[in-house]
Amino acid sequence: MQGVKIAEIPDIEIDPITLDIIEGALKNARHEMDAVLFRTAMSPVIREQHDEFPMITDPKGRMVVGQFGSYISEMMDNFPEPVEPGDVILTNDPYKCGGAISHVNDWLVLMPIFFEDELVGWSSMFGHMMDMGGPLPGSLPTNAKTIFGEAMMIPPIKIFRKGEAVQDVINMILNNVRMPDMNRADLMGIVAGCKTAEKRVVELCTRFGKDTYLGACQALLDRTHRAMSALILQNIPEEPQSFEDWVDDDGRGHGPYKMKLTIWREGDHAFFDWSGTDPQAVGPINFYLNEEMFKMFIGVYLIMVFDPQILFNDGFYPLLHVIIPDGSLLHPKYPAALGCRTHALTRLFDVLGGTLARKSPEHTTAAGYGTSPYMLYSGWDGAGDFFYLMEISYGGIPGRPIGDGMDGHSWWPLFENIPTEYLESYYPVRVDGYTTIRDSGGAGLHRGGNGIEKRYVYLEPGEISVHDDRWLTYPWGILGGMPGRRSEKTLLKADGSKERLPSKCDEVQVEPGDMLVYRTAGGGGWKDPLDRPEERVAADVAKGLVSEEKAKNDYGVVIGDSDATAKLREAMRAERGDVKDFDLGPSLEDILAACESETGLKPPVRQEQLRWATMETPEEAMQRVRGQDSG
């Protein structure tokens, strides 16, 4: 980064009105980035499902608006040459950007924003590419042992120099992917989105003056810092609180993997310590968690739970301290495989919610369907043309303080399902049904959402992959709420046979007429189901979302009979006693013992420690973080 004039952030007062105007303009610019990409991208994962993330930063690379963490200073410190106006940098290597992106499918684009030859910020955006080359379509093999078994890695590299495309580099990259046109379109859409942000920031500098703009960025960061300091003092206890949960397996028969989080506060500084989490996995379920990214997760989560009005940005990062032992599932050593990190990424939110719930249970939610389930299908059609479909599925949203969890919705924001008519127009597949699974949501005063059942009928021979989790452990309920039902995948062959598929598998051969019944997990319930108003239980039964049987067994409601309901509820209360804070279902021991009989699948086994990736001790990790954060 030598040779680049980085704008100084002036220490000036910004009047509150100008500040609010600049805040509004930056928020608009961030939404404009999304809009440009959605309308131009080709891959349904970005376009229909919205798997992409924008941000605008200040000159130091701190996110002022957007939806991911600050990684730029870390990445650019090692960048071998100066950046100039019109340059665009691309990478997909999680190990080269401190985990800002966490698998090679994510293409991260970074563009410097200059105003009168000074660097005033960065715009950046990443999106999930349908394919990045490597052994399997989708580039997410469930059995990869290192990142080399996944796909090509692009180090941070310029793909535009001073506004001119570096064709050699782009051609080399596209030469390695299965559908270069799609990657090209998605990449151009991401670049166009970043350019939009650049244009808006330059306009703001012109209109208000560079110093006012930069002072406003700082003031926006400070504003969030103050707000978060108050949130920490109010909501994080001084006494450490812990919670643990599991990722079921690594796709190679190992598991389950423990994720443990301990939270406490010292003054208005909060500590989030992942010590006690299992060592990194052999299979690709490792989640290279960027500390700054995790701070963003915490921040957004706290804001949503406690005060949704606050603008989210990086300003509060100095107040949070994140300890992740090197060599653990959440901070694996190079070259660990990372492709299927979505399970640990999602479980992280379950664990975060569970830990915070220890002290303010009224505010937090139960556990959800617990991952981003994928279905991949590829092959060659009758005309000899290659086809490849990847679809993200959804499931039961947890019961929440505000109400029931939604049935079959996405826990990740803004993702959408792919229309059946789109699937059937472009792929040799027919959807036999798409619905939520009755009774799969955990009972509660506010019930968990139902999981999804999607039935795919394949019309051409090909191979499918499944990525899911929560087939073994249960999405837990909270404060008396009950767990949601687990996920399962069954392949009904055209010949009448039936096969239960593991929750993570690749290269499953399918023939025309075979049907995959793809079921995701439900969400856990929130608070005591015996307190759920009888008429709401009856309404769910009338809608077909809950069965009469479950109404009776879990809610104590005899449909159409209030007297019987009152009696039954009384008896159930007496028998049950006090409700549990958390209902995780049976003990892990019992789950493993019953695994084969209940699921038809062999239970996973605990993994041996990898010789090349010894884990940092909790003490070492703590010492490292305290050293970094103070200096």
Binding site: A185, K195, A227, F297, S410, Y422, G433, Y434, R455
Partner: protein, 685 residues
Amino acid sequence: MAYRLGVDVGGTFTDLMLVHDESGDVFRIKTPSTPADPSEGVLSGVNRILKESGVDVGDISHIMHGTTVATNAVLEAKGARVGLITTKGFGQILHLARSQTPGPLAGWIIMIKPDPPAALEDTREADERMDAQGNVVDPVNEDQVREIVKDLIDSGVETLTVSLINSYANPAHERRIKEIIADMAPGFPITISSDVLPEFREYERTLTACMNSYVRPKVAGYVKNLESSLQELGVKGTVNILRSDAGLMSIETTQEKPVYGILSGPAGGVAGALAVSRRANFEDILTFDMGGTSTDVALCQHGQPTITRETELGHFRVKVPSVNVHSVGAGGGSIAHVPELTKALRVGPQSAGAEPGPACYGKGGTEPTVTDANVVVGHLPPQLIGGEMQLDVDAAKAAVQTIGDALDLDLHQAAQGILDIVNENMAGALRLVSVQRGYDPRDFALVAFGGAGPMHANAVAKLMGSFPVVIPPGPGLLCAEGDLVADFREEFARTFIRTVDQADVAEVVSILRELGHDAQAWLERENISPDSCSVDYSADMRYYRQGYEIPIAVEIDALEKEGLGLLTERFNEIHEQFYGYRMPAECEIVNLRAVGVGKVPHPKMPTADKVAEADPSGAVTEEHKIYFEGDWMPTKIYDRSKLQAGNRIPGPAIIAEYDSTTVVLSGFSAEIDQQLNILINPNQG
């Protein structure tokens, strides 16, 4: 039979305008609206305008009507109980929606999911299946369909919707089920999705079809009742309803497809603004309609509104062609507040509404609104023209002071701050319809109307660089004129998904011709004289497998001569204009469309015969002061009704009239044109 009558029902007033086709004579009245049954206000208005004009009721040939009955039914959740029949396996289509939860991360924690227009317990699955190419996979099981239809009707649903997978490719199953229902329950209102929206994406199509059913009984009842009441009055002409895309549709079509008029109100505003600006010789305009609780903006080019294929209403995205109006939840009644944790100044989305209204209305409101801020800085004089209402300046000051206290600003800085924020929000909305779609707002005039539009227009235009600001006479309600000049319009479309390479130009042309015939037949049925008719053709295009289409206008002759490359070329150009790049990728046709348009003659509106002196002093009513950049500046208040064509008014100035107040800022001047519009421009040099 030579008069046409435009009738627009607003929240407060119903606006009527009667025009003679040949002479262009115009009569206009405003009468109070009657929200409980809007037709009462309409009828009393019709009676009054006939009486005042002396026109014979039998001489009215057409009544053009904009109505918000459908909009309100959706916004107030007071539509019909809708039964829905889907394909087997898809009964939860509306319940699942697109599975989306709002941002940011963890936004699901506070999401409130709206009830869909058809409830799950009123949804049944039909045993049938069509594939994406329109081939039958499973035929309709008629016995099973009869069972579920009976079940639904017995359960008490008021209307039925049939929306089946892949019906856009082949509507035969939907049509068959419609026949079965009609056979079982003659006259029962049925909507089939392929009629309302023959396009792919099943959720959006089903939602739109159910919305149609949801508003149908209310709208159908209203228009039938209105038509018969008008006939009782002696009206022999036809009644037509303004669609969301600012075209007109017949009463029959309205009863079948009321969802096409779901944004009739805002469409009338845009059509009215266009009518005004065309007469003032501005073809490229941004419309700015700022009311009490919300503001609508739209972009019009070459005298035509931009049409979008999708519109948001309440929580729902409904796919019907609509004037591309962007709505923001901020207006004169929006409340300013300072959240404790962030100490930021926010304006809206809460509004003081009509009751209690802004603090200055003296009806018990104490929270600071945009209107109060306008009073504090002097933009809104304490005494409104007509003298009906005296504003409570002290109450406004007390309310705005609370913002000053929270932000450590003085009263006037706080008021100016509220106005700056709200103007910025307005500019953000205008940027969305202009800059974000590749248009330069400096090439557009800003036509301001609505109760609060003229007060903010100058400041907003300054942010956008959009001049002149055009403020038509009577800007509080100019929609009736929009109804009057609207064209008859109906779309005929078919989904035809092919890459340009695979498509055959002869096939495309023949489909367009067929659709064109349908459009011609419709124009004939509407009794529109052939020389006023035209048919426009377009194709929705995208790069292969992109998710969003751009409508590309095309002429059949040119297409035949130059081939499909013409479509590719035009699409590439427009893609580059919108998004800044084109791609070497294949282009794909998605929908083909013919739009039948029946033009109506435009009324001749009054123009000043002679141009007066520039000096406007004859219209000054009082001396006043407004707060500007930290100082109070002496400002004259003008009575608009006394201003004459040719008058020039230097800013700062306030121009007051019955239903609105125009602010001209320092550094700008206003002049009155021959149509009596106020045109505001920056001073030269």
